[in-house]
Amino acid sequence: MATPSDFPPSPPDDKSPIPEVVTTPSPTPPTTEAQQASIAQETPKQQDSPPSVFKNSEPLREDQIQNAIKFLSHPRVRGSPVIHRRSFLERKGLTKEEIDEAFRRVPDPSPSSQPTVSTQDGQKAVSNVQPQGQVQAMQPAPVVMVPPPSLLSRFRWYHAALAVGVLAASGAGTAVFVKKSLIPRIKSWVRRIMLEEETDPLKKADAKPSLAEEAVAAAKAASAAASDVARVSQELMITKSEERKYFEDLTRLLGVQVQEMKSLSNNIRNLEGNYNNLPKVYSADQEVYGGGLVKTSAERRSYANGSNIDYDTRSARSASPPPAPPADSSMPPHPKSYMDIMSMIQRGEKPSNIREINDMPPNPNQQLSNSRIAPKTKPWDYGQAPQEENANGPWWQQKNPRSTDFGYETTASRSIGIPNETNTMEPAALPRQRSWVPPQPPPVVMTEAAEAIRLPKPQAKIDQEAAASDDQSGVSDELQKINKFSETGGDGSGNLQITEIQEEREQQQFSQEGN
């Protein structure tokens, strides 16, 4: 590494214009510099002292890679977009390196064009690789916050079922109609033939029909019949298509009617709800807004007086909470007006309260006004002067004494020894922290006892002393333990000090209990 002291590192991407403010002496830049020097990002190296904790430092897991290869080799998976495959593997807990390795091993016709490998043109790779089309294909309707996959599939089934139903119904309908129209047509055709046949024998009876004439007549009849059949079949086709069109129109109209009826019933329910809830909401509102509610425009102040007109419109929009949330549904009950607006959008209508607003900057080169205050240090970057609790200050500065009484800020919880606590981050000496600070070691209460602990003495004497100071036998046991520990030779003064403090604390505790 050329210049170890050279903050900021010059990254291969074009991020250097952001000046690195040297307030955070983080240990990570030297390491990442080293890692950037190597091209492959997959296997982060344990160089320099602390590797960045924000990277995976685990080696590739072969079993996971094998599972991924099996997954990727499945024919159905081959047909899915690459982004889905990656997302699935990520959700299974594979690291990026393992996923890349699996993709590399599986012969893949469409190259997995993931932007992790090269660092040189990192920015371009990151932004332009994923084909938008694949991603767009996954997007459901824009704003719905509920889990989309199930909704999407539900829509698919619903659409498919509806399509099949419509097709079957139209097919059956046309079949019925055709049959109905076919039979009378056949009958009329047969009748026509019979009439011709009747007339023919009459003609023959009148004038002696010769064979030729008969043949001619038969041929004529046959041709007439054929043309008739052709005509009839044509008409049949036309009527069939017409019938189908009519049927589809009919079903569509029916659907529209159903939707209108649904919305009507919704509105009715709304109105009923409003009528029912009007007294309740009114009184609830009184208690909520009684204490100094501020409106943005003066006209809304009449609201506080409870003008009913305002009330109806308002409660129609932000409806009262649903009467009983459904037992175990995964979808939270949306407000009724939310469903109204969603259905309005789906029908293609636009809510009427939207205004045309021009929110473009009037002067795109407008200079920022100068800052009046210097940035303040954050409470977690210690060094900030403690903010005194000011009982006379504004209400928001008055710390509620109850707020600390969450019952967890006791020495017990602190001493649990959270394995992941990095002790440097929260020094006990932080003046601003209102959390637990280790108490100062209490002054030596019994100098004789303290000396007794420091200097090895026969146990009997110490027991006597302990018994003299307190009647509880537990104390003597504790003291015995402590003395034994110190007698067997602690590691040095530090240990003795600890035992002393413990002993003193116990002394204090027991003396308190005695009181």
């Binding site: 950037q36 990151v126 916050m145 939270p332 959008i345 939207i354 109850r402 707020s403 969450f406």
Partner: protein, 317 residues
């Protein structure tokens, strides 16, 4: 405790890092489905009424999130539903605002977060699956991070390392990124459902919390990310936002579609330490003040913004 009634449904609330009594609220008409948006800048005052609006800005589309600048006391950044990122300067008169509008995201911008350590850049997370890095003085984004397979709901800077951030996405993963690297440095498949929010522990730079549609909040340590440190249950529906306290190491605030705001201590056996049921619709925005310990604010689709001290009843007068 003061309440502010907005004309539109609330989406996000943020305290100013410069002024104790100032906060910004992002709102959207028609629940953010389709309609205009509005940003309110509110001032807390000692007497009645407890909160007043000092200025507001109208936008053509819904505003989903707002973030105060850490370098200029009067500047805020807004994440707008039409994919634009707008910068407002409250020291300039409203007709001069916004001072910038960046149109790069292909879909709604769902969150914006200003860098608290470097103070010169901010991140936006969008439903177009990308996270973008911006600086105030640049006309275009500096980086685009495109790896998520679905909407990115939030991107949050690490409070100690100015180059590291985390992103929470609808593809059910949480990713850790370093702006000096071309791609994400860690992928944590945190939940089985969409992850709606994440936030770093201000006192332990390796710990962060995620909240998800599966109604839980999980606390992770990036050094052993295979299993969470804690799983916090208690919300009845999806947890929309989660926030670590700037003053207490293990205190987490969360708001949910079950209309409640909860306080948790993830290091304790019974983690739920507080619950507020003041909202009458989905509670979607929450913030804890950096300058005043214990001061919290929340907003929801009931168009109300509450500001209160922990331990008090938000609806008390």
């Amino acid at each position: 405790m003061p309440v502010f009634k907005a004309p539109f449904n609330g989406y996000s609330v943020k305290f100013s890092p410069f002024y104790e009594s100032r906060l910004a609220v992002a709102t959207a008409q028609n629940f953010g489905i389709l309609g205009n948006g509005k940003i309110h800048v509110l001032e807390l005052s000692p007497g009645l009424p407890g909160v007043t609006e000092s200025v507001s800005f109208d936008t053509a589309d819904a505003v989903y999130d707002v973030s105060w600048s850490e370098s200029h006391d009067s500047v805020l950044v807004a994440a707008v539903g039409d994919g634009s990122v707008k910068i407002y300067d409250t020291a300039l008169p409203p007709p001069s605002n916004p001072i910038r509008s960046f149109q790069e995201h292909a879909r709604e911008v769902h969150s914006v977060d200003y860098n608290p350590t470097r103070r010169d850049s901010f991140l936006t997370a969008s439903w177009d699956d990308t996270v973008k890095l911006w600086a105030m003085d640049r006309p275009a984004s500096i980086r685009t991070f495109k790896e998520h397979a679905y909407c990115v709901y939030q991107a949050v800077w690490n409070p100690k390392h100015g180059d590291v951030f985390a992103s929470a996405s609808g593809d059910c993963t949480l990713r850790i990124w370093d702006v000096r690297e071309p791609g994400s440095t860690m992928i944590i498949p945190g939940h089985d459902f969409e992850i709606l929010s994440c936030d770093w522990n201000k006192y332990d730079d390796c710990v962060l919390a995620t909240s998800s549609v599966d109604k839980t909040i999980k606390v992770w340590d990036v050094r052993s990310y295979r299993a969470p440190l804690a799983v916090l249950n208690g919300h009845g529906y999806a947890v929309r936002k989660v926030k670590f306290s700037p003053h207490r190491r293990s205190l987490i605030a969360s708001c949910s579609y079950d209309m409640s705001v909860c306080l948790w201590d993830y290091m304790v056996e019974d983690a739920l330490v507080g619950r507020y049921d003041h909202h009458t619709e989905f509670a979607v925005g929450i913030d804890m003040s950096v300058l005043v310990e214990g001061l919290m604010a929340s907003t929801g689709w009931d168009e109300l913004v509450y500001v209160w001290q922990q331990g008090m009843d938000p609806r008390a007068s």
